[in-house]
């Protein structure tokens, strides 16, 4: 056996490249973002120069009604999608957790939207399915002699939510199904013998057993749904106005359209803080519930 310090050095050496790359790509930039958020720097206005404004950017942000609208929409988008994905995911997982002819094909089909890139998913829905004149939307409306639904105007945020749910439910199905398949047959059989009905079995055995899986799906789902960007970019471009803009898209607009670096950095920092709060709140919630169930 080799001596401890040398072993320790060798282990550290193995982790070094990973730490280096991850730190350079994530940790350093976020510190720079934090620094930039205290600076006034509008790239397309070189005459103004770069100057320190303290919390000026944050102050302007918190007095801007657009910003509040965007924050609320981000919360709405994330929360509604998360709840819908969990319920639909559980529903489909329960349906697919049985043996029937072609079950593997059916499972394969239903998880597919998860692997389709958001740019393509957005475009296909926007054109072939929801287009008010030439898509199914217009066709069905013409068939019933009604006006097509205005998916990209009045209901733009709802449309973004719909597409997000369509893309992310398969992920929830995958994980919840894995949990359901891990429940031992014996427990289910003995529940049946004891006369437990379908609902009783679901709420007293199945859901508590897959609690961890639901938690994992919801945590990862939150992280991913908070950064939804491509779908918005190709379908509504955040509009009309800012009605379907989330924080991720808002940063993009301010940074790469307005070239207001300081302001964009401030929004980015707020986004990061909100993300952390959301994850921590969710984590707390699960820990508390988990204890209740264990007792």
């Amino acid at each position: 056996m080799q001596d401890q310090p040398r072993e320790n050095r060798r282990s550290r050496f193995l982790t070094l490249p990973a730490i280096l790359v991850v730190a350079v790509v994530t940790q350093v930039p976020i510190l720079v973002t934090l620094a930039l958020s205290f600076v006034r720097w509008i790239v397309v206005r070189p005459d103004l120069g770069i100057s320190f404004t303290g919390i000026g950017n944050y102050f302007l942000l918190f007095t801007d009604p657009d910003f509040y609208a965007v924050v609320l929409q981000t919360i709405e988008l994330t929360l509604v999608s998360l709840i819908a994905c969990t319920i639909l995911g559980l529903f489909f997982a329960l349906l697919l957790n049985r043996d029937f002819f072609g079950v593997n094909v059916v499972r394969t089909l239903i998880i597919s939207p998860f692997f389709v890139m958001d740019a393509v998913a957005g475009i296909i829905w926007k054109t072939l399915i929801l287009h008010p004149s030439f898509g199914f939307n217009g066709y069905i409306a013409a068939f019933f002699h009604t006006k097509p639904i205005d998916f990209f105007g009045a209901y733009s945020l709802l449309t973004v939510i719909l597409l997000t749910v369509w893309q992310w439910t398969p992920f929830f199905i995958l994980i919840i199904l894995a949990g359901l398949q891990g429940i031992s047959e014996e427990i289910l059989d003995s529940a049946k013998v004891d006369g437990a009905g379908w609902f009783r079995t679901l709420f007293s055995i199945k859901i508590p057993s897959i609690y961890n899986h639901i938690e994992v799906a919801m945590m990862l789902g939150t992280i991913f749904i908070l950064k939804v960007f491509g779908l918005i970019y190709v379908t509504t471009s955040g509009g009309p106005g800012v009605s379907s803009t989330n924080l991720a898209y808002y940063v993009y607009r301010v940074a790469f359209y307005g070239w207001d670096v300081g302001r964009a950095a401030a929004i980015a920092i707020v986004t990061a803080v909100l993300t952390l709060i959301a994850i921590m709140a969710l984590f707390r919630f699960f820990q508390r519930r988990f204890k209740e169930w264990e007792v």
Binding site: S11, I30, L36, V116, H213, V216, L220, Y233, A248
Partner: protein, 271 residues
């Protein structure tokens, strides 16, 4: 008995219809990609199939985007595996002082929204003339995906019985040798599915691609996003290029989804 049988059949038919409806947008995209451009509007299911769209769509211009996507995805995947696996190995089997702290640090970086890093990253790329290069995309994607590799591979490594490794050491087997002869064969499926997941994530990545590339290094999602403005209503061609674009991740996802779920859930459930 027969009433039960009928209920079962009805339920299965219900499941078929439901799943087909869920898959419908993708199915209809594939159907449309074989339609002549004149038969796309209004929506229909009977048409004269043609390969003309694919013939037109697979031109050098679009092939260049696909080439960028393939190169960036493959190189990033290899880089993530080569850098991520030794780190997970050290975290699980090494003699680090606080392996869990390091592991949670890696995990915490995945919580960072990409928008919170994109501005400095863009500025750095611009001033170092790395904007619109494949190298820079690979670097960004590696940083974003190495934590995912560490997360998943760690759970697979934890499943390797330590007794086997100890026995191998006693028999005089070196660390490197026992890694390749024992650990790799035992965790092969897990590592493969991790690699496939990284490939899928990178292939589909849109946010950094659209902000950090223009022409030279642009990947296929960037092209897709610009299609609407450039080509307007040529929906059959749009469907053909979409089908080509989603096929690689779709097929890989179908192959890998079982072990993928295992990696994701094990990593989190076991903590």
């Amino acid at each position: 008995m027969s009433a039960k049988r009928i209920r079962h059949v009805l339920l299965v038919i219900f499941i078929y219809i439901l799943c087909l409806a869920y898959f419908f947008p993708i199915l209809y995209m594939i159907l449309t990609s074989f339609k002549p451009e004149t038969q796309v509007i209004p929506p229909r299911f009977i048409f004269t199939p043609t390969l003309e769209n694919y013939r037109q769509v697979l031109n050098p211009d679009i092939l260049n985007y696909l080439k960028n996507s393939a190169l960036v995805s493959v190189i990033t995947t290899i880089a993530c595996i080569v850098v991520g696996i030794p780190a997970s190995y050290a975290i699980v089997f090494g003699k680090l002082k606080k392996p869990d702290n390091l592991f949670f640090w890696f995990l915490s970086t995945t919580l960072l929204p990409p928008v919170s890093v994109v501005i400095p990253v863009y500025l750095i790329a611009r001033y170092t003339h790395l904007l619109d290069t494949r190298f820079f995309l690979v670097l960004m994607y590696s940083g974003a995906n190495i934590p995912i590799v560490i997360w998943m591979v760690r759970s697979f490594l934890k499943d390797v019985p330590r007794e086997i490794l100890e026995a191998a050491t006693i028999d005089g087997c070196s660390r490197v040798r026992s890694f390749f002869r024992i650990i790799v064969p035992l965790t092969q499926i897990g590592i493969t599915s991790t690699a496939l997941l990284v490939f899928i994530f990178v292939w589909n990545e849109f946010f950094f691609a659209i902000n950090l590339t223009y022409v030279h290094a642009a990947t296929i999602p960037v092209y897709m996003a610009s299609y609407m403005t450039q080509e307007g209503l040529f929906w059959a061609k749009l469907s053909a290029i979409s089908t080509v674009t989603v096929l690689p991740p779709l097929v890989l996802g179908w192959i890998a989804h079982k072990s993928l779920v295992r990696g994701l859930t094990l990593g989190a459930v076991k903590g």
